[in-house]
């Protein structure tokens, strides 16, 4: 394992320090906790958004703390859900009196830890609601299982629900908006390489020189299956086909596209993939309203990408266009 780190045990702490030092105008750290909140928290008179999860997904989630997106982000150990006490402190620090929406990705650990924290906060009289993101179409949806994972679509939930909160909508409305995004966003991903959790010291899986892993989450775990490496055009088609199977998109529908790098993918390759996404959507007569390309929800140094498609309506478009000013996502 080669990494630019000091001590595998201390990566989350040092990273959070590095973030605060880089972006003091945006975020501050709650003393002694792995929680970043807006520099001006709590913001009075608006619903606050708290997200988070394991670390290793940078810039998620701390990078999205700021105007128009999150109020607080809780960082667990690498790929490990944070504990309820930390989330509880985040909720208390950002509540501006209008209540707090917890943005949770659908992992057993995240759901349990965030909901436990929500219960603690409600016991102290804070209004709390939550939404659970499950955009990963690689996993079969079923009431008999844990259901689908939350992956890169989370970024779009942050953006749009964050805008709703910033615009002054109340907790119920912000939750409704977040759920609308969740209902309309689908993601599918693939990778060329595994990644190595610092504390583990070896890659989560092995891939041959001509193999890729398809349908994978964002915690370095293997995907649903393995294939021989294909061209960008073929890979992109496979990912989108899987998405199209799951959400009905017809001619003239408008969508937002997120081509998300997993951390080790050069931007050149993401743009080549985006070129393919665009071709396929055009062929189907679907209109791309907005495209986001970059590393937004990563898995450490994993090389690979995911495509997210969000079906838009007028309300979502307006919120998507709303101003955002955070370390990792800015929109003028």
């Amino acid at each position: 394992m080669k990494k630019i780190i000091n001590n595998p045990e201390n990566v989350v702490n040092e990273m959070l320090e590095g973030i605060v030092k880089a972006h003091p105008q945006y975020v501050k750290r709650l003393e002694g906790l792995n929680v970043l909140v807006r520099a001006n928290s709590p913001v009075k008179g608006k619903v606050a958004l708290v997200s988070g999860g394991g670390s290793g997904h940078e810039p998620s989630h701390g990078g999205f703390v700021g105007e128009g997106m999150l109020d607080g982000a809780v960082a667990g150990e690498v790929f490990t859900s944070p504990t309820p006490d930390q989330i509880f402190e985040a909720i208390k620090a950002v509540d501006g009196g209008e209540g707090v929406l917890l943005v949770i990705k659908n992992y057993t650990g995240d759901v349990m830890n965030f909901q436990m924290a929500g219960e603690l906060a409600e016991a102290e009289g804070i209004k709390v609601a939550d939404v659970i993101i499950n955009d990963d179409v690689a996993v079969e949806n079923s009431t008999y299982t844990t259901g689908r994972r939350g992956i890169a679509g989370t970024v779009l939930v942050h953006k749009i629900a964050g805008a709703a909160a910033e615009k002054g909508m109340d907790l119920e409305e912000v939750k409704r908006i977040a759920e609308k995004v969740i209902a309309n966003v689908r993601t599918m991903g693939m990778s060329l390489t595994p990644c190595t959790v610092p504390a583990v010291g070896k890659p989560g899986f092995q891939l041959g020189e001509d193999e890729m892993e398809v349908g994978l989450g964002i915690h370095g775990e293997p995907g649903t299956h393995r294939e021989k490496v294909k061209t960008a055009a073929e890979i992109t088609k496979d990912l989108l086909d899987k998405i199209f199977e799951d959400i009905e998109l017809v001619e003239k529908d408008e969508v937002a596209v997120l081509v998300n790098g997993l951390g080790g993918t050069p931007l050149m390759e993401l743009y080549i993939a985006n070129n393919e996404v665009d071709k396929i959507l055009k062929e189907k007569g679907i209109k791309t309203y907005k495209t986001i390309v970059g590393n937004y929800m990563t898995s450490l140094e994993m090389a690979g990408f995911s495509v997210s498609i969000l079906k838009l309506d007028e309300e979502l478009k307006e919120l998507l266009d709303y101003k955002a000013d955070t370390p990792a996502f800015k929109q003028l």
Partner: protein
């Protein structure tokens, strides 16, 4: 009968066992999860072990509640809230007691399992820690009912848990992170069931050493 001192000893031994098996648990989790179960559990029980000294003079309920809160606030992931809730429910079942009789232990165990089910919404057969814990609970209860003493009963419980762990190899995960693998999870042993088994085996071993 488990005295408060014995309870603390058991818990410290559990912490040692988890530490010794950190790598094993992590490797099991690497195969079908995210390779952190050993790390998570060890972080939690290491802190438990340290905290125990500060509460060892309190009642059993308080001791167990401290374990619960420590696990909840240090482990994270899925196993943190699950084991945390288990210990919390167990502690509530024996509030104020300075020692635990067989009935207390059955009740604690029962409440712990109910807590895990309440929190994680899983059932037996979904390839989770419940596949070790539920058969262990049944074995323990059965053994005590037929008159075995507690140390014998925990040997039966640990054996049943061991069988449960073996059983997890044959089934597909439908809860937790391993469920994303679908059929690819078959053939692998569940890390959480394994840690549950290790905990029960440590209880059994401690009780049996005690008797010598």
């Amino acid at each position: 009968m488990i005295t408060r001192d014995l309870l603390v000893e058991i818990l410290k031994n559990v912490a040692d066992t988890i530490k010794e098996n950190k790598e094993l648990l992590t490797d099991l989790d690497a195969a079908i999860g995210d390779a952190d179960h050993g790390i998570n559990m060890n972080k939690g029980f290491k802190t438990v072990s340290e905290k125990l000294d500060t509460v060892k003079d309190k009642d059993c309920g308080t001791i167990l509640k401290t374990v619960a809160m420590t696990l909840i606030s240090t482990v994270g992931g899925a196993s943190g809230p699950l084991y945390g809730t288990a210990f919390l429910k167990a502690s509530m079942a024996v509030n104020g007691k300075m020692e635990l009789d067989n009935e207390d232990i059955i009740k604690m165990f029962d409440e712990a399992i109910k807590g895990i089910v309440m929190r994680g919404k899983a059932q037996r057969g979904e390839k989770t820690m419940l596949d070790a814990l539920i058969p262990a609970y049944e074995a323990l209860k059965g053994s005590l009912e037929k008159g075995d003493d507690l140390s014998e009963a925990f040997i039966e419980a640990a054996d049943a848990a061991k069988e449960g762990v073996e059983y997890t190899k044959t089934i597909k995960a439908t809860k937790g992170r391993a469920s994303y693998l679908g059929d690819r999870s078959i053939g692998h042993q569940d890390p959480g069931a394994t840690s549950s088994y290790l905990i029960l085996r440590t209880v059994a071993n401690t009780l049996n050493q005690q008797e010598d």
